[in-house]
């Protein structure tokens, strides 16, 4: 087996991974950094983020207000020390991106422009039209190209973390172009692999969002936190699930039911006004707005279409100029994928699985309980997002905690044990190579189709663990996932060749997703309350006595995860009622 060694290894080349790599290269130019990514970095899903990145900018705004919006948005499940750190760091990070060339939209006098966003009390969302994630990712990628200390392993698929004597020692990964299995050793590993929205059938997430890093950490013994907190974005296109940014509502768009009525007023989100009002109506938080749309479906006040019920997002009153200058991508997407022009017609939308608040458990320094393992971005759960993330906090999060993870890993490396039991590590890598050969590349006679297992998993997640949940549906899903785990052992991989074997990667991704799905369902089953994005029909109220706590899902030897609880950090904002529009 080919082996190589670096000081620090980053898995994932999206916003968090690139930010971590740049941070290490800038502050510790002697360190040798490797980046392993299953796609070229600029293909990472950060590219699809649209609306913006939140960070206090205006004189009328304050760090405390951004904290409060984030905490109440999280339904008090976010850790307040982490949120304070985050809010304090974001403006510096966004400014850094400006200095690196990010084409932020501007005020007429040349200063950074900010826009309103859902659940935020002030204008503080920095944006680059409605392609903010795209510009942020390309700015980071291009900036990273100037550092000779970063070695990239593009299109290289990590399959296992190497752990020896309780500390991380690197990864085993497949180089897709050749099919070669490599051991890439490192004293510290940072997981920046994004979310796993593809465990659901209808999602904004790209094909690559299969929860790889979460599963890798989980399999290596690190716990996954708050996995039941899965966010539905209110406005997805009905067939494709393509995201229509929240900025469309921030710029003044309305949500209308089949009677042309702004129905959010019936869901305790305020009274309709012609211009948008902060934390009210269409600028409510995503969990509440998605639940309201679902409510209209149930009341029969929605439209019926070939892909299920939908409501309208109406931008017509904004006019062509505003749509073209502030929301060009929305128009482009509607024209291409729905064959409608939002200047003249309302957009058909339905809630769509968008984001995972949960992820690999880390502390405020981006460190996991496993020595030498760090995580940042959507793959991680610090947690600043709690039970519901506010729109435009995630691009900010990948910058703040990407950089933090880079510094923490560098610091850890300085003090890490230099001696390694090389034989033991290579034996582990050889084990993994054998597993890949025996279970996939040389296996014959498998009868379970990847596509079929994946579809059954996605169906189980949507029906049992969707926008509303209850005990019976969750138990059914949990049983189904156990069955799928068993059947997965018999998965068929017909392509036994080495070069760019995407059937192999699909099979491996399915394995990762089954683990991630199981942690979601079991965390949801155990949380007998409703909080934020987690809504239980059988427990409709928030229960701070029992569940003001993070769910921690750990792998058990065989079978479903073990669920435990971890305290939430409360500093200055005691749990209270979430108030929107009044």
């Amino acid at each position: 087996m080919e082996t190589s060694a670096h000081d620090i290894l980053i898995i994932g080349g999206g916003g968090a991974g690139l930010r971590a790599a740049i941070e290490i290269a800038e502050t510790n130019p002697k360190l040798d950094v490797a980046m392993v990514s299953k796609v070229y970095p600029m293909r990472s899903h950060t590219v699809s983020a649209e609306g913006g990145a939140a960070g206090v900018a205006g004189k009328d705004d304050s760090l405390d207000e951004h904290c409060y919006d984030t905490i109440s948005g999280s339904d008090w499940l976010g850790d307040q020390d982490a949120i304070e750190y985050f809010v304090n760091e974001v403006p510096k990070e966004l400014l850094r991106l400006e200095h690196w060339g990010c084409p932020w939209s501007r005020e007429p006098d040349g200063r950074i422009a900010v826009r309103p966003f859902g659940g935020m009390k002030k204008m503080r969302t920095w944006f680059a039209a409605d392609k903010t994630g795209f510009h942020l990712l390309h700015t980071l990628f291009q900036t990273s190209l100037q550092y000779g200390t970063i070695t990239r392993y593009d299109e290289t698929f990590a399959t296992r973390l190497l752990v020896e004597d309780g500390a991380i020692q690197g990864v085993v990964a497949i180089e897709l172009r050749t099919g070669k299995i490599r051991a890439i050793q490192a004293k510290a590993v940072i997981i920046c692999t994004g979310g796993g929205g593809r465990v659901f059938p209808f999602t904004t997430n790209a094909n690559i969002c299969t929860g790889d890093g979460m599963a890798l950490a989980y399999q290596a013994g690190a716990p996954l936190k708050d996995m039941e907190m899965t966010q539905y974005h209110p406005t997805g296109l009905p067939f494709t699930g393509i995201l229509i940014t929240e900025a469309a509502r921030a710029e003044g768009g309305w949500l209308l039911n089949k009677d042309g009525y702004r129905f959010l007023q019936d869901y305790d989100l305020g009274k309709p006004t012609p211009a948008p009002v902060f934390r009210s109506m269409e600028l409510g938080p995503r969990d509440r707005v998605s639940q309201a749309i679902f409510g209209e479906f149930e009341k029969g006040r929605a439209f019926h279409g070939p892909y299920g019920d939908y409501v309208h997002l109406d931008l017509r009153h904004l006019g062509e100029h505003k749509i073209e200058s502030r929301l060009p991508m929305v128009r482009e997407l509607c024209l291409k994928y729905e064959n409608i022009d939002p200047v003249r017609e309302p957009i058909r939308i339905r809630p769509v699985l968008h984001y995972m608040m949960g992820g690999v458990h880390t502390d405020i320094n981006a460190a996991t309980p496993l020595k030498g393992l760090f995580a940042a971005g959507e793959a991680a759960c610090v947690s600043i997002n709690g039970a519901n993330r506010l729109g435009s906090n995630s691009l900010s999060e990948i910058l703040v905690f990407g950089a933090r993870a880079g510094r923490s890993a560098a610091q850890y490396f300085e003090g890490a044990e230099r001696r390694t039991n090389q034989n033991a590590i290579l034996a582990q890598a050889a084990d993994e190579e054998r597993r890949l050969e025996e279970n996939y590349l040389k296996k014959t006679g498998g009868t379970e189709r990847i596509t079929k297992l994946r579809e059954e998993m996605q169906h189980a997640m949507e029906t049992g663990c969707g926008i509303y949940r209850e005990r019976n549906s969750l138990v059914d899903s949990a049983n189904k996932l156990r069955e799928l785990h068993e059947r997965y052992r018999n998965v068929a991989v017909d392509d036994h060749t080495r070069t760019f074997n995407t059937q192999l990667t699909s099979a491996l991704e399915l394995g990762f997703m089954l683990d991630v799905a199981e942690t979601i369902v079991h965390s949801a089953l155990n949380r007998q309350e409703s909080r934020g994005a987690h809504q239980r029909r059988d427990f409709p109220k928030r229960d701070d006595n029992k569940f003001l706590a993070h769910s921690m899902a750990s792998r058990s030897a065989e079978g479903p995860p073990r669920i435990e609880y971890h305290p939430v950090v409360i500093t200055r904002w005691p749990p209270g009622e979430r108030v929107y529009g009044r």
Binding site: Y40, V47, L95, E98, P103, K131, R177, F500
Partner: protein, 246 residues
């Protein structure tokens, strides 16, 4: 109208083939399907060994560029029904070495991107405390050139790159131009040296195919022509102005 369509997909596997061949697949012809949906139908239902790249399926990640009936396209935003009644031919992008089936090698492109120094270069060491002031007009000056998604359709369309792979190519020049035009950047001289060399801008014969195929309405052809003008001016200046050494 028929409810299916034939896709003729180029297949090549370096472990067993000496040259590519076409394989036909019959797929449903649905009015909201893109060419990518048809490829995924093949992969999921008919032949799991077919290799192609895709990810965002919303025209922004730049992964799924292929040749559709002879034209470079992002398959995730190319409607299948426009090719009815078919057949429709799908192949890898031209001018790149083929790794397998529809997957091409991008090493050369990545190396060229890096070569043009696509980052903000500051000659002064001052780290500003706040943002660089940049008016909407200054932003507008480079904005379209910042919209490149690195899909490489322009390289597949460029006849010069087809003849001479040393040509640095449309997207890399547009990116260099993007930073040169950015009011925050001071690296124009470095990039002129790189891009004005033999493999640089002078090879372009202004065919404009790059601009025609660009799915993001970037105008690399314009970037190249503007670059030539700037490079010429700088070249003249080097004779007219007194030089520091020698």
């Amino acid at each position: 109208m028929s409810d299916t369509i034939i896709l003729e997909v180029e297949r090549f596997h370096p472990e067993r083939d000496t040259e590519p061949s076409y394989q036909s697949f019959e797929v449903p012809l649905r009015e909201d399907w893109m060419v990518l949906d048809a490829l995924n139908h093949i992969k999921d239902q008919l032949d799991g060994s077919l290799a192609f790249r895709w990810s965002c399926r919303m025209g922004i990640c730049g992964s799924c560029g292929m040749t559709v009936n002879g034209v470079p396209k992002l398959t995730c935003e190319t409607l299948l029904i426009n090719y009815a009644p078919g057949p429709v031919r799908v192949g890898p992008l031209d001018h790149f070495p083929v790794v397998k089936d529809l997957v091409v090698e991008l090493d050369d492109f990545l190396a060229k991107l890096q070569k043009v120094r696509p980052w903000v270069v500051r000659k002064d060491d001052k780290k500003p405390e706040r943002e660089f002031i940049q008016t909407p007009a200054q932003l507008e000056a480079f904005h379209q050139f910042s919209l490149c998604i690195n899909c490489t359709l322009c390289y597949a369309a460029c006849p010069v790159y087809g003849l001479d792979p040393n040509f640095i190519g449309p997207a890399a020049i547009a990116l260099a131009h993007r930073y040169n035009l950015d009011s925050r950047d001071q690296g124009i001289e470095d990039r002129l040296d790189i891009v004005s060399q033999h493999e640089g801008i002078w090879d372009c014969t202004v065919v404009g195919e790059c601009t025609t195929v660009c799915p993001k309405h970037v105008d690399p052809s314009l970037a190249i022509q503007q670059y030539k003008l700037t490079a010429t001016k700088e070249w003249f200046k080097s004779f007219l102005l007194p030089r520091g050494k020698n």
